[in-house]
Symmetry: C3
């Protein structure tokens, strides 16, 4: 499969600088692309990295300075590159049709139109699956769960009983939705389990990464708002109510009964203590430990998390701490004499 | 399904304030319950939250002030609410009986009475499974593993060879018990693997969350003491000896050869360095990094972890650090004159 | 199965101190071994721990002081003990042969010689698997993935489309290779997914622990260099290029587009921000948060990570911080008088 720069420029909505008949056989990132492939430059001011790339051609922003290499100038390089890259994508593997005879589908389950169920998937008692879903190998959908339309469950995703997914939800491999929350109480020196009788409800257009866990609620639902995206290896505790359009990055842990507003962004390896509420638009920096509520749009950082500006001030101060301590010792030592003098003088 | 408050009060062991014939159709948490559902209040002093709830009735502590809403007064609201909530629980899905014909059970395996084995589970060579266990879809129990009575292995839990589980052990979905510990030694610039010839032994009444990993020992067992509970996404390294009745919260990592006493509590995202020993009743705060042993009942916090009181003092001091550094600069500046004077005078 | 000390000394390449006809029935760690088992001492200076062990005999370094217990003196106790321990290992479970009839192997897949495929494994469209591989139960190898020779994929490992594994690669249970990277852009208030069109390439002799996730690249490969070892529950983001012979410990998260050189060691629970480059031989301490590039052989510690020496100095200073702040207050208070005096005097 090959395309000329002229053809690609048409797809990309741009103009060619250089030989428009030059042939391209693939589209890859700047560092991975070879002489027969096209790459893209995200920002004009980084134009020098083009020289270090082996790519044969480049999609670049309109305002990029003149370059010696063949380029296609476009308004939005990433958007255009996605279109170009799709041209070169390998044809997808032939998609199987219908329910594989090696899947275990309970006779009480209700399966929509054009649903694909792969081998060794298990669809439980009274489960409902909407139209156009794809259920990959080894997925387990437990009793009474309801899945909307156009959802994709990747291999070995597990939904415990009564899980509800909206439309267009994507769940990646190995992720577990609806396992019991971590709730015990000490009775006669035994950690007695508090039954976890709630469920998990995932809104429309959510995507959940691989090996992530979202626990079921204790006496109500754990909720994930529409349009929110969760990365790999994240923990969402029981009774949480994650708002709409959140971004939660890998290895973050959200303890029980937390609430987040809309458009909250939580970076990687963050921890939220239980019952924390983050207002709309809160941004939490990586590795923070959040133990208090936030204001709308607030930026938090650190463990325990503070307003980002305060935390940064402390981090800068820490650099000076060893020298400051030495200086205090010097001050104390010097001080003894004049001070004693002062005391004698009083 | 519906019950009157009078009926619920009998189950809950309490007394009704309000109309005892009022009908309730479900039991959910304060924030999730609707007008036809009952919720519960855990502490009397939080009585004002009742006003903000849409629930139709409330289980409340005996000493709660008079409320305008229908309540049932009980001694222990949580305990009573669990009983009430169970009344409203959906009938469980019909439990399958025996070994599904789509499971792969080795002919040398010994399976107890009333064991349920779901489709696509794999039971290996000479495995032993005690009475009344439930082995969910896709679970893999590798060669020579022994499982006690009344255990539940949720979907896709994996036991490597020679794993031993006690009675009443619950393992949630996607958890891996007995994978190789992370042991290599550099020989001629190659990371040569140290064979991991031990196993994992899990005591009675342990519960292990989803997507957690417990590595097999190198030349002996990795052990988890009876009654201990481990949350999701926790790592327990090779050769660890976790004591009885521990609570280990999500995303904590315990490096190799650590030992914990009884009733140790480790909060979320904590790390223990290898060979650390925590004495009985130690409590480690969230996100701590523990690099030293603890005393019985000691509370540790911070990375590196210190006695909680010391760490809190440091955390408070950090708030004052930027101002302190400015003050030291002022002192130094002011000091130059009198001090130089002093030196001249000496 | 039992062996005399004389027999074991021959296998271990050492000499017996004590009764050479003494019989041993197993080999376990110092704390786990009983009177009929042999254990080993790694360093001569730790010789006192031998007295606290119940083991019946010990492999010890040549320079260990005389002990009252039966020992075999050897040059390298760990190497010798591995040989001895293997003598006592249980016979492995009989290895099945060929492709189990319950596996789902696409007719277009190309399977090498002597490959074992267990029940419920799924081998997709045009997958290639090299000679002598073992594919455990429930493993999913998606379309067009290529696996080299002598690889082991443990239960439920998942390879997404187009994954490439070298020779002698081991992937532990529940690990997911090639799920989509976490890439979105906000368009009209919607987090629009950036398609993840790359793949993952794993070099020869890599071992990847359990429940780890390695995301596919966006427009190119995510790469793992030959001989690198990754522990459990690690996240490797899209477009990363991990070098050769790295060691990456449990629960570490590496954000997108990071690059590491050869022989980099990253301890547990570390986070790398995106686009960070670590030079050859860099060592990152546990729980660090790395936000900058490193020099060859540099040791980093802390969050944000600094040269280890600087961070340790700060950590020591922190211990003194509360007292320092009190001292500064005292200095300020005392200073008021003489200083005012000084100002009056000037």
């Amino acid at each position: 499969m090959e395309h000329t720069l002229e053809e690609l420029a048409r797809v990309a909505g741009g103009t060619v600088d250089g030989d428009p008949t030059k042939k391209v056989r693939g589209a890859r990132s700047l560092d991975a692309a070879g002489p027969e492939e096209i790459a893209f430059l995200d920002h004009a001011h980084r134009f020098k990295v083009v020289e270090g790339s082996n790519a044969g051609a480049f999609l670049v922003p309109l305002d990029t300075p003149p370059l010696t290499r063949p380029v296609i100038r476009v308004n939005e390089p990433l958007s255009s590159f996605i279109k170009v890259a799709r041209l070169f994508q390998k044809a997808p593997a032939p998609r199987p049709v219908g329910i594989d005879h090696r899947a275990a589908v309970d006779p009480t389950a209700i399966i929509g139109e054009r649903v694909v169920i792969h081998p060794f998937a298990v669809i439980g008692y009274k489960v409902e699956i909407g139209d156009d879903c794809e259920i990959h190998p080894g997925v387990v959908v437990s009793a009474r769960s309801r899945i909307g339309r156009n959802c994709i469950l990747h291999p070995h995703a597990v939904l415990y009983e009564d899980t509800v997914l909206g439309d267009r939800v994507v769940i990646h491999a190995g992720t577990v939705i609806g396992a019991d929350g971590f709730g015990y109480r000490l009775v006669n020196k035994v950690h007695e389990k508090i039954p976890q009788l709630g469920n998990v409800e995932v809104g429309n257009d959510c995507e959940i990464g691989a090996c992530t866990t979202v626990d079921r609620g204790t006496f109500g639902p754990t909720q994930l708002g529409a349009g929110s995206k969760i990365d790999n290896l994240v923990q969402v505790g029981h009774n949480c109510r994650i708002g709409a359009n959140n971004l939660i990055v890998s290895q973050t842990g959200i303890a029980g009964s937390c609430t987040t507003g809309a458009y909250v962004v939580i970076a990687g390896q963050v921890g939220l203590a239980d019952h924390v509420t983050l207002a709309d638009g809160t941004v939490v920096g990586a590795k923070s430990g959040v133990m208090r509520n936030s204001q709308p749009g607030e930026r938090l950082l650190g463990a325990p998390a503070r307003p980002e500006r305060d935390e940064k001030r402390i981090l800068i101060s820490l650099e000076k701490l060893p020298e400051t301590i030495r200086e205090v010792k010097r001050l104390t030592a010097r001080h003894v004499a004049p001070n004693q003098l002062g005391e004698q003088g009083s």
